[in-house]
């Protein structure tokens, strides 16, 4: 099992979510982060004083999938998150040793996501 962590633009999330759901990966989490990278800093002003903010709001997407699904998910992300301009973000893949579905207590890969056909209906 692998965890895919992607730092993306806000507007990239929804297309990614839709595609992933269609592909049978409905299960994921996102959170608001602030990131710095190659993107420019913004100089803000307040009552005369200046402050340069090097951080830009980004969305962090976390999705744990079976190892053999990693490429599918990464590709979906790269496809939609890309504008070709600085600030598009990064995708990281990390190992996961165990996973549990709390509701049932089951563990293992099959707990991670729904089955494709199921998801297919879902988006119908």
């Amino acid at each position: 099992m692998k965890k895919i962590e992607a730092f993306i633009r806000h507007e990239a999330f929804e297309p990614i979510r839709m595609e992933l759901m269609g592909l049978g990966f409905p299960s994921l989490s996102i959170s608001e982060v602030k990131g710095s990278g190659r993107q420019k800093g913004i100089t803000e002003r307040y009552r005369g004083a200046e402050l340069t903010n090097w951080l830009r709001p980004k969305v962090k997407l976390e999705c744990v999938v079976a190892s053999h699904d990693v490429q599918t998910v990464v590709d979906a992300i790269l496809k939609h998150a890309r504008t070709g301009q600085i600030g598009d973000g990064k995708v990281f893949v990390m190992p996961v040793e165990e996973a549990y579905r709390i509701r049932t207590g089951e563990s293992g890969e099959e707990t991670l996501q729904a089955h494709p056909e199921v998801a297919a209906q879902a988006t119908a």
Binding site: H10, E11, E14, R38
Partner: protein
């Protein structure tokens, strides 16, 4: 045209479409230049006061919003608008007539503010002022709306929206008008017993708080308010600034609430009433902060505000009957009652904003305070009841006040309890556990009160820009930039 009317507002309206007797009277008088200046002078002040009281709707809204969690903030807005609207139409249709028409038990003239003949005779208790009848309606309606707003303080974060609508119709059309008629509409408590309630500690605030108790007992506490062991939990509201806005607006509104109850300006009484109101409120804040500090060790922001409200409620009845020097005393006692009452009540029932204490207990205290502090000159001037205990040494007036309180409470509680009981059995009072957890905004209104807090970039949901039309990215004008070249 009669048809339009009926079609739209039902048979009841029929009476409304007769020639506009009263309105026309004023107009004719004005036309013939025989409308005395005094009408305009008194009407201006009472109208200003009415508008200040109307503004209190915003005060109640933000007091409640501040004490709610963010997921329940929006529904308060819809609630206040709906209730204010229903109150207006019902009070016009029948409320005002029941409340201020002639009769020991209830008035019977002036439905839709029509066909009542001479206003000074039709609504005798307000006869001392020649302000126009529409002015008096605006002022009295604003009181009804305040009383109704008080009812909902105990019901935040779990009540079904429809309950507001149903009860508002009954309350503004029947319960409030009758009960307030008894106390200051020329009814039996006032005329026959000489009960004193200048601006409505009982007639407005206690009535509202009684309704609030009636619904709370059948509604129950919010999920999570009491642990498995029954101990109360804190469910902090989401915004003290909004709470503060509410309190400050209410305080301002009270300068219309009490001084406006003179129903005129020409007797020069209203500024003194304003002074009395200010002194009581100030003492209430300080006493409440001190009491809370003594009990819990912190300077409780909420208690400071509740203390102001409690003291203002308490001074409402006496404001036109007592000397200024008694105001800080009356207010300070209310300020002590507030935290103690809130802590005590919170142990058993879930009153998120402290309405039962601020409007209920303090309303009772204020009404009784007349029996203690009413001054001879003002009892005489207002021509209801006798001076208070400290002047007469007699408990007579105090007894009358107590009787009035008990009667009004019993009457309003019974009718309200029955109304809510009927609602509970039919439509239901409370949302489901899931809806409560999701919050009323999303479950009752289909959208959060603060969408961005709950939906990531909501405007982008289901939105995929056509590859072509991604616009060129430039640098924000307001921003100077430092380039970090790509490696």
């Amino acid at each position: 045209m009669r048809r339009i009317g009926t079609a739209l507002l039902g048979v009841a309206l029929a009476s409304a479409v007769l020639p506009a007797a009263a309105h026309a009277d004023t107009l004719d008088a004005a036309g013939n230049g025989v409308l005395p200046d005094s009408v305009a002078i008194n009407s201006i002040w009472v109208m200003v006061a009415a508008l200040l009281v109307i503004f209190m709707q915003a005060g109640f809204a933000f007091l409640e919003i501040g004490f709610s969690r963010a997921k329940n903030a929006g529904t308060v807005v819809a609630k206040i608008l709906t209730n204010f609207s229903i109150a207006g139409l019902m009070y016009w249709a029948c409320g005002f007539a029941f409340a201020f028409g002639v009769g020991d038990l209830m008035g019977t003239d002036g439905f839709f503010l029509r066909a009542y003949g001479d206003p000074l005779e039709a609504f005798p208790v307000m006869g001392l002022s020649d302000a126009t009848i529409e002015t008096k309606w605006m002022f009295q309606f604003s009181f009804c709306a305040v009383s109704l707003a008080i009812v909902w303080g105990t019901t935040l974060e779990r009540i079904k929206f429809g309950v507001y609508v149903i009860y508002a119709v009954v309350f503004a059309g029947l319960i409030y008008p009758i009960a307030s008629h008894w106390v200051f509409g020329g009814g039996w408590l006032q005329n026959n017993l000489g009960m004193q309630d200048f601006a409505g500690s009982t007639a407005v605030h206690l009535i509202g708080a009684t309704g609030a108790l009636a619904v709370l007992l059948q509604l129950g506490a919010r999920r999570g308010k009491y642990g498995s062991d029954g101990s109360p939990r804190a469910i902090p509201g989401h915004s003290m600034p909004f709470f503060g806005l509410g309190v400050l607006i209410l305080w301002l509104g009270w300068f219309g609430f009490n001084p406006g109850s003179t129903l005129g300006a020409l007797d020069g009484r209203f500024p003194e009433v304003a002074l009395v109101t200010m002194l009581a409120a100030g003492a209430g804040v300080l006493a409440s902060i001190a009491t809370a500090r003594w009990k819990t060790g912190t300077i409780d922001i909420g208690m400071a505000g509740n203390g102001a409200i409690g003291a203002l409620v308490a001074i409402t009845a006496p404001s036109g009957y007592v000397e200024p020097w008694t105001a800080p005393i009356i207010g300070a006692i209310a300020g002590v009652i507030v935290p103690l009452g809130v802590y005590a009540i919170d142990k058993k029932i879930d009153d998120p904003v402290g309405a039962l204490t601020a409007h209920g207990l303090c309303g009772v205290w204020g009404t009784l305070a007349c029996g203690i502090f009413t001054s001879p000159r003002l009892a005489e001037y207002n021509a209801f009841g006798d001076p208070g205990l400290i002047y007469t040494g007699s408990f007579g007036q105090l007894g009358t006040q107590a009787l009035g309180v008990v009667t009004v409470f019993a009457f309003v509680f019974t009718l309200s309890y029955l109304t809510f009981f009927a609602i509970k059995k039919t439509y239901g009072l409370r949302v489901t556990a899931d809806e409560e957890e999701a919050g009323l905004d999303i479950s009752e209104h289909g959208m959060y009160g603060y969408p961005e807090q709950f939906i990531p970039a909501p405007e982008l949901i289901g939105y995929s820009p056509a590859p072509g039309n991604v616009p060129p990215r430039e640098t924000p004008r307001g921003a100077t930039t430092k380039e970090v070249p790509v490696a």
